[in-house]
């Protein structure tokens, strides 16, 4: 249902009313923004000298290093969490009851503990001494691995039952059914959700701030504290610059997720692609709607073709 169903094509009266609302709404918005800008101006935050600090080579170097530090954690945590997620997902779907139960308890437990507390405990030394870098990576891996495992499980459960049955019928082994039939389809259908969770991973790298890992926010605070200009600490400026960097990074990833979702909708692979929404933090991730069961053999062929297009 599009938004326009909620209201009529406006008649003369409604047009006038909408115009009034539009003007009033814009005025309120512009007024709010102007007020903030005026306050900022009043406090001298637009002083060019305060913004000039970003022209210093040293500060640019700091920003670059911090960005690299953030991306390094993100890359490692992203890869490790996906690997861990596959492991947990296999354990969760295992035929052996103890393994399955262990996975259920582990996933449930670490999804309900705040990531900050996990990271803090790792940093303080619950598993022996750990540098902030590894505390952050391990914490992110455990938490996001658990969430991604549930995402993958939802994807596997959404693969039509006939696929698995057919795979067993032609004599594939258990691990072959998983690796050749179930996982490829599950990953393909859950890719938008997986990437959205990666955005969460990226955002959560900022928790390194609390354990003194020199990532973006930490270096923002250092820069603000260490480069006073005429006795004013440039907090507003650094927050603006670093905020823009974060939002830019996350938006790029979010767009990628939405793009893949749209592309998957168009592809005629018979795999229903999940929405690019963030998976729910506690509930089981929403499974995509019942996929159209096509002829299994035919389907794999189509999938292969679609993948060829990628390369």
């Amino acid at each position: 249902m599009s938004a326009s169903v909620l209201f009529d094509a406006p008649g003369p009266k409604a047009r006038v009313r909408n115009t009034i609302y539009t003007v009033a709404g814009s005025a309120a918005l512009v007024g709010g923004i102007v007020w903030v800008l005026l306050r900022l101006n009043e406090k001298g935050e637009f002083d060019p000298a305060l913004w000039d600090i970003f022209n210093y080579a040293g500060i640019r170097q700091n920003i670059l290093e911090a960005l690299l530090a953030t991306l390094k954690v993100f890359a490692l945590a992203g890869v490790f969490s996906l690997a861990f997620a596959v492991l947990m997902c296999v354990a969760r779907l295992s035929d052996h009851r103890p393994v399955r139960w262990f996975a259920v308890v582990f996933i449930d437990l670490f999804r309900s503990i705040p990531l900050l507390i996990t990271i803090f405990a790792l940093w303080v030394g619950i598993l022996g001494t750990m540098s902030p870098f590894w505390a952050l990576v391990v914490g992110l891996t455990i938490y996001n691995g658990c969430v991604q495992a549930e995402v993958l499980r939802a994807g596997i459960n959404a693969v039509p039952k006939g696929q698995k049955e057919a795979a067993y019928a032609i004599g594939l082994r258990k691990y072959q059914v998983m690796t050749l039939v179930l996982f490829p389809q599950a990953i393909r259908s859950m890719l938008p959700t997986i990437i959205s969770q990666l955005v969460v991973t990226l955002k959560d790298t900022s928790l390194g701030f609390m354990i003194l890992y020199p990532e973006l926010l930490h270096s923002a605070r250092l820069i603000a504290n260490n480069t006073p200009v005429n006795g004013v600490y440039p907090f507003v400026q650094t927050v603006a610059v670093f905020g823009a960097i974060y939002i830019g990074l996350c938006l790029v990833l979010s767009w990628l997720a939405t793009w893949i979702e749209k592309r998957g909708r168009k592809a005629k692979s018979g795999i229903t692609v999940a929405s690019a929404k963030e998976p729910a933090a506690s509930e089981v991730a929403p499974a995509p709607g019942a996929p159209v069961a096509a002829d299994p053999l035919d389907e794999t062929v189509v999938v292969d073709k679609a993948q060829d297009k990628d390369n």
């Binding site: 938004a3 909620l6 909408n18 609302y21 309900s112 705040p114 507390i117 955002k203 979010s254």
Partner: protein, 215 residues
């Protein structure tokens, strides 16, 4: 066991702190979220743009950054004398409101087309259509995602503990500084969070059950 018994009052304070932060932020997030969702489907373009901007910006900002804004920029520029609890509630509440707005909006989208059309055809205005027909029906589909949003909020309030608020994270930090074994602290803190998250989960299950109506 001693860690808990020796510091029972500290743990209680932290537990109540987490509950207060969660409750207050949830209230802010609910009110703001519904308003923003209303903006996003309204016939007034600037409000729609504002809603879209609000959701996009807040969903793509790390909460820690919001806390930095709340604790270093807001007191300096806008309101100098806010206490840390209020600032933390604003940061958590605003952040969560973006997620609530999205949940409510997708809830609105699941209300059958005919409902809104019927409301309109008997002459209801946009506000009436929303408040009398669409939103009450959207509530049912919104409840399950809201449950996970509020559980995520509970966990996010831990960040407030790093910014001068007394909550469970703050307690674990204090105790760890006092030299207690982190493993034991971690165990009790985890238990406390499990209690809160399971309580929220149960509450929403109940709500879902009560709201269940055959359509």
């Amino acid at each position: 066991m001693n860690v808990l018994l020796d510091n029972l009052s500290l743990f209680r304070e932290g537990f109540i702190g987490t509950l207060e932060l969660t409750g207050a932020s949830a209230l802010v997030a609910m009110v703001l979220g519904v308003i923003i969702a209303g903006f996003r489907v309204s016939p007034v373009p600037p409000l729609r743009i504002f809603g879209a901007l609000w959701v996009t910006l807040l969903r793509n900002t790390p909460l820690t950054l919001l806390f930095l804004v709340a604790f270093f920029v807001v007191p300096k520029v806008l309101f100098p004398d806010l206490d840390s609890f209020l600032l933390a509630v604003c940061a958590c509440g605003f952040y969560t409101s973006a997620f609530v707005a999205e949940a409510v909006r997708s809830g609105i989208n699941t209300v059958p087309l005919g409902q809104a059309e019927a409301a309109r055809s008997i002459g209801m205005t946009f506000t009436q259509t929303m408040s009398l027909v669409v939103l009450p029906q959207a509530t049912r589909t919104v409840v399950p995602p809201l449950s996970s949003i509020f559980i995520a909020l509970t966990k996010n309030t831990a960040i407030a503990g790093a910014f001068n608020n007394v909550d469970l994270f703050n307690v674990s930090k204090t105790l760890s500084n006092d030299g207690y074994d982190i493993a034991v602290i971690f165990l009790w803190i985890t238990l406390a969070y499990l209690i809160v998250t399971y309580a929220i989960n149960g509450l929403f299950r109940l709500l879902e059950h009560r709201l269940e109506v055959a359509r």
